[in-house]
């Protein structure tokens, strides 16, 4: 292969393991690609020196015969994961110069598996956004363009840097996080694959918190197989995260070709939402047909509380965020306002200067819904609804093994199109937030292109800790969709 960046992660792994390609060559290829793709603004911090050093170490291990599962494979890390000695911004000005003295468990797991770090990927500020437009470091641009158009499109959010970098072949795979769709939305609009694992599957330790009861780490990659390989390496129980779960991590890759024969796939009728792009509705139907053709049984199911998911999410997530973000106060680290006249002034100005509009909005919403006199009406009711939403899934899973739904109501939109109206933006999460509220795993795979040539994704929602079956079904969709299109290299400098 002439361009090493065209490799899938699995292909690169095999090429490196069999010494057809050195990690150094592979890594250098990505370092160059990243340099040439700065127009996309996918990286907040590039770490080529670290990457090449890690690649050298990997090559030494391969030579010594002590290679690990991801030896020498270059990855991008969402800039929400704390990386020891490497600036970690969370996409916020308030952490502009923050250099953690510790490494997140998930990224450490990847390094322990031999992976190579290319840099830190762009994201919505504190992962709050669906389009990557709230980043304090400028919006990341999707490598995809509509046919005959040069309009800059969003790469989805919040893990927009992750999806754009994978789609533009700037890394073999990327870490991402998902609080309300932040892995799945970007994957869906960039023709990449992403999984939000079951809550507790990956450790949250060392990942900057947005909403603790919803946040979950996961990978975005080019294929279902690559995604399965990465999740296996990322997942672990962690003594440092009380909410991580002590269950064995299966070899997801080993099972992906298992097919869907005999699986019952539920189609939740409440997901036929008004305003959904007809081309997405069509690809959803096609997806069901593909699975049926491969031996799955399609059943219609009901998730009656779906309509409450968005309002519930936009109470729970901001409530937790308002508390989680209180630590950014200008006292110990992060942005501190100059010459504060007293402690209150220090707080007010440090936070006003450090946080962007969307983060401030969510802190205000969260503070409001938790405050005396409103707590019962908002936070407590949202918690009750969350229980009902979880129960919906439990009921549905009595009739089926997983659900097939759209991932987003529309394909990628133009930068600037929705950012002025937060509610329109929030509605974009309509198909994804329920999964976080229920703590379930969900996989997004590319299922086709619309008439403008933009990717459309489908979402498979599984039972708790049944990621393995999701990968099997995702692989079946991938085979049926047989999508070969890639974004053209218009961005190359």
């Amino acid at each position: 292969m002439s361009d090493l960046t065209e490799f899938t992660l699995a292909e690169a792994r095999d090429a490196v393991a069999t010494k057809k390609v050195s990690s150094k060559e592979l890594t250098q290829g990505f370092v160059t690609a990243i340099e040439e793709a700065r127009a996309l603004n996918a990286f907040i911090t590039e770490t080529p020196e670290i990457a090449l050093k890690m690649a050298d170490a990997s090559d030494a291990r391969i030579a010594a015969g002590t290679a690990r599962p991801l030896e020498g494979l270059p990855l991008g890390i969402k800039d929400l994961y704390c990386t020891k000695g490497v600036r970690t911004t969370a996409g916020s000005k308030i952490l502009e110069n923050y250099v953690p003295q510790y490494e997140s468990t998930v990224s450490q797991n990847l390094w322990d598996n031999g992976a190579v770090m290319l840099g830190k990927l762009n994201l919505d500020e504190f992962a709050m956004g669906s389009s990557n437009e709230t980043s304090a470091y400028g919006n990341c641009i999707s490598p995809w363009r509509a046919k005959g158009s040069t309009t800059a499109l969003v790469p989805g959010g919040s893990s927009g840097g992750s999806s754009a970098a994978v789609a533009a072949r700037l890394c073999l795979g990327a870490t991402a996080t998902d609080t309300g769709g932040s892995i799945r939305t970007p994957a869906a609009v960039t023709g990449t694959t992403g999984i939000k694992p079951t809550y507790g599957r990956c450790s949250r330790w060392g990942i900057v918190a947005f909403a603790s009861s919803l946040d979950q780490a996961g990978p975005i990659a080019k294929t279902v197989r690559d995604t399965a390989i990465l999740l296996k390496a990322m997942a672990s129980v962690d003594d440092k995260d009380s909410t991580s779960v002590n269950l064995p991590v299966p070899d997801y890759e080993a099972g992906i070709e298992g097919g869907v024969k005999g699986l019952r796939i539920g189609i939740p009728k409440e997901y036929r939402v008004e305003g959904t792009d007809p081309e997405i509705a069509a690809v959803w139907e096609k997806g069901a047909e593909w699975l049926k053709a491969q031996g799955a049984e399609i059943v219609e199911v009901s998730l009656p509380h779906t309509k409450y998911a968005l309002p519930t999410y936009y109470i729970v997530a901001p409530a937790e965020a308002s508390s989680n973000l209180a630590r950014y106060d200008g006292v110990r680290f992060g942005h501190r306002a100059a010459n504060p006249k007293d402690l209150i002034d220090l707080y007010e100005r440090s936070r006003a200067e450090g946080f962007g509009a969307e983060v401030r909005r969510r802190i205000l919403i969260g503070t409001y819904v938790l405050s005396a006199g409103y707590y019962d009406a908002y936070y407590l009711r949202a918690q009750k609804l969350r229980t009902l939403i979880k129960r919906d899934f439990e009921e549905a899973y009595k009739q089926c093994d997983m659900l097939l739904t759209p991932a987003t109501p529309s394909p990628a939109f133009a930068i600037g199109e929705k950012i002025a109206d937060p509610v329109t933006m929030y509605l974009y999460d309509v198909f994804t937030v329920t999964v976080n509220l229920a703590g379930l795993p969900a996989l997004v795979v590319p299922a086709g292109l619309n008439t403008a040539g933009l990717p459309l994704g489908l979402q498979l929602i599984g039972k708790a800790f049944d990621e393995a079956t999701l990968f099997r079904a995702g692989r079946a969709l991938e085979i049926a969709a047989d999508l070969k299109a890639k974004p053209q290299n218009w961005w190359r400098a």
Binding site: Y81, C82, T88, A90, L95, Y98, P100, Q101, Y102, S104, R204, W205, G206, I207, V208, A209, A211, S212, S213, D239, K240, D241, S242, T243, A319, E320, S322, S323, L325, A326, R327, D329, V331, R332, F333, L343, I344, Y347, T367, L370, S371, A372, Y375, Y379
Partner: protein
């Protein structure tokens, strides 16, 4: 109303008032590590030297419960004869302050680890008052803001941030400042017996918020005020007395009590409201999503219960059953180390009453005078036991016993060797004592005549003989001989 209760009332211009007191006591959990991080809890370390990434609330850090602190809370709950909740929940109490790194304190709001219990409070005169415990919950301490190191900056020391505290909330069951002090003293004794808190108020390991209201006896509860952060028994008593009087004055002059948070000014000896900024918080409590509900098995609680030491009330009962007065028993059980010392003497085979009298009348008096704690005292339980034994074995008299203690106090050593080497042994040789008696009588013929007429005067001769023998004569023998010489019947 009993006379006891009546005596606690405070006289105002419109009649008698009853003061109602409830305490929220913060006890620092005795544990080497903090509640949610592995950092050390040692007191007095260099500023910010015992701070983990979790304590400093670095981005992405998560709390993990320290099981030992949970065990300590359960142990304390059992010591308070309280309901242990097998499932409890940690909540976030949100507020901004420079020494609160996360911007919230992890505490237990709705579902505490320990529910209803009680403390029996010993009052002067042997009366026992029951103070209800509403709850005990676990929470993190904050750091310390230091405002006196720099003209226009404040410093923050996070060593204390994240240390485990037990907040023990009483019912408003106390009716006088003395009762409140006695409750706190008893609570302190219990946690010290349990080894769950060192009770060191000066170092801040025990601090109290005191809720005070006043009412006319029989009336419903009135609005209360809370005096924050008290760490001295003496100041608590003063603060309650000042505050009760203040509230009575307000009410009697037609005013109303505003519910507010107060600080006690120890220099002026008065309470004053905290600035509104310091108290106007909406804490926005909600369950901490970083932590699962805390749950454990009854079997584990039973295990802890089986390992509880004997507590002051049980000890008091056992000591009084040995014949000790309630007063003596209370003195001995008030501190665990005192009780342990006493029990070490019992283990040496000393009579309980003799040991109690000896400690309370002699040894503790000397310690108090010297301002020494028992642990710093120069005489061991073994040595004190030996002294008492020598008295009961008629080797020395009670008078010589005190001398031996004084020698031990200064010089140390073995009591029996001291008695031996300094010739302090009691003279039991009758002929030697007879000689001394005869000598005294020969020198005082007039007194002999008088004593024959009035037998109670015999005591004077006993004293003179004791003096003449340097206190070494056996007093019983002297007594018998004096009486025989005077012709007084023995049992007369």
């Amino acid at each position: 109303m009993s006379t006891e209760a009546k005596s606690k009332l405070i006289q105002g211009s419109t009649g008698a008032w009853e003061v109602v007191i409830g305490l929220e006591v913060h006890c620092q959990v005795l544990s080497k590590a903090k509640l949610f991080s592995g950092a050390s809890t040692e007191f007095g370390a260099d500023p910010n030297s015992q701070v983990s990434f979790v304590d400093a609330a670095m981005p992405g850090m998560l709390p993990v419960i320290n099981k030992f602190c949970v065990e300590q809370a359960v142990r304390t709950g059992l010591g308070l004869k309280a309901q242990i909740n097998l499932t409890s929940v940690f909540d976030r109490k949100n507020y901004f302050y420079a020494d609160l790194p996360a911007g919230y304190q992890i505490s237990q709001f709705k579902n505490p680890i320990v529910g209803e219990g009680e403390v029996l409070v010993d009052l002067p005169g042997g009366e026992v008052a029951r103070v209800g415990i509403e709850r005990l919950h676990l929470e993190q301490d904050a750091g310390k803001s230091i405002h006196d190191q720099h003209p226009d900056s404040s410093f923050v020391d996070l060593n204390r941030a994240g240390i485990a505290l037990m907040e023990i909330v009483s019912r408003p069951d106390m009716r006088s400042s003395e009762e409140a002090a006695a409750y706190l003293k008893k609570l302190r004794a219990i946690v010290r017996y349990l080894g769950t808190c060192d009770g060191n108020m000066e170092e801040g390991s025990m601090r109290a918020d005191v809720n005070v209201s006043v009412r006319k006896p029989g009336d419903p509860l009135n609005t209360r005020c809370e005096i924050k952060n008290m760490n001295s028994m003496r100041f608590i008593v003063q603060a309650i007395e000042y505050e009760a009087r203040r509230q009575i004055d307000v009410l009697e002059s037609g005013g109303r009590i505003k519910q507010e948070t107060l600080l006690f000014d120890t220099k002026l000896c008065e309470t004053r409201p905290m600035r509104s900024k310091e108290e106007a918080h909406d804490y926005r409590y909600f369950p901490d999503p970083d932590l699962l509900p805390l749950s454990f098995e009854q079997a584990w609680v039973d295990e802890i219960a089986a390992s509880l030491p004997e507590l002051p009330d049980a000890k008091k009962a056992r000591f009084t059953a040995m014949g000790l007065s309630i007063y003596d028993a209370l003195v001995l059980v008030a501190e665990k180390e005192t009780a342990d010392y006493f029990e070490a003497m019992l283990a040496e085979g000393v009579d309980a009453k003799a040991a109690a009298n000896w400690l309370n009348n002699e040894y503790f008096g000397r310690l108090n005078k010297a301002g020494l704690a028992l642990s710093a005292g120069p005489v061991s339980a073994h040595a004190n036991s030996e002294i008492i034994k020598m008295v009961s074995e008629n080797i020395i008299s009670g008078k010589i016993a005190k001398d031996v203690l004084d020698i031990l106090w200064v010089e140390g050593g073995d009591p029996r060797s001291i008695v031996e080497s300094r010739g302090l042994k009691q003279v039991t040789d009758t002929s030697a004592i007879e000689k001394a008696v005869d000598a005294v009588m020969a020198a005082n013929p007039d007194k002999v005549e008088a004593a024959k007429a009035k037998p109670t005067l015999a005591g004077w001769f006993v004293g003179q003989v004791m003096k003449a023998t340097g206190g070494k004569a056996n007093p019983a023998t002297v007594n018998a001989l004096v009486k025989a010489r005077l012709g007084i019947a023995e049992e007369g």
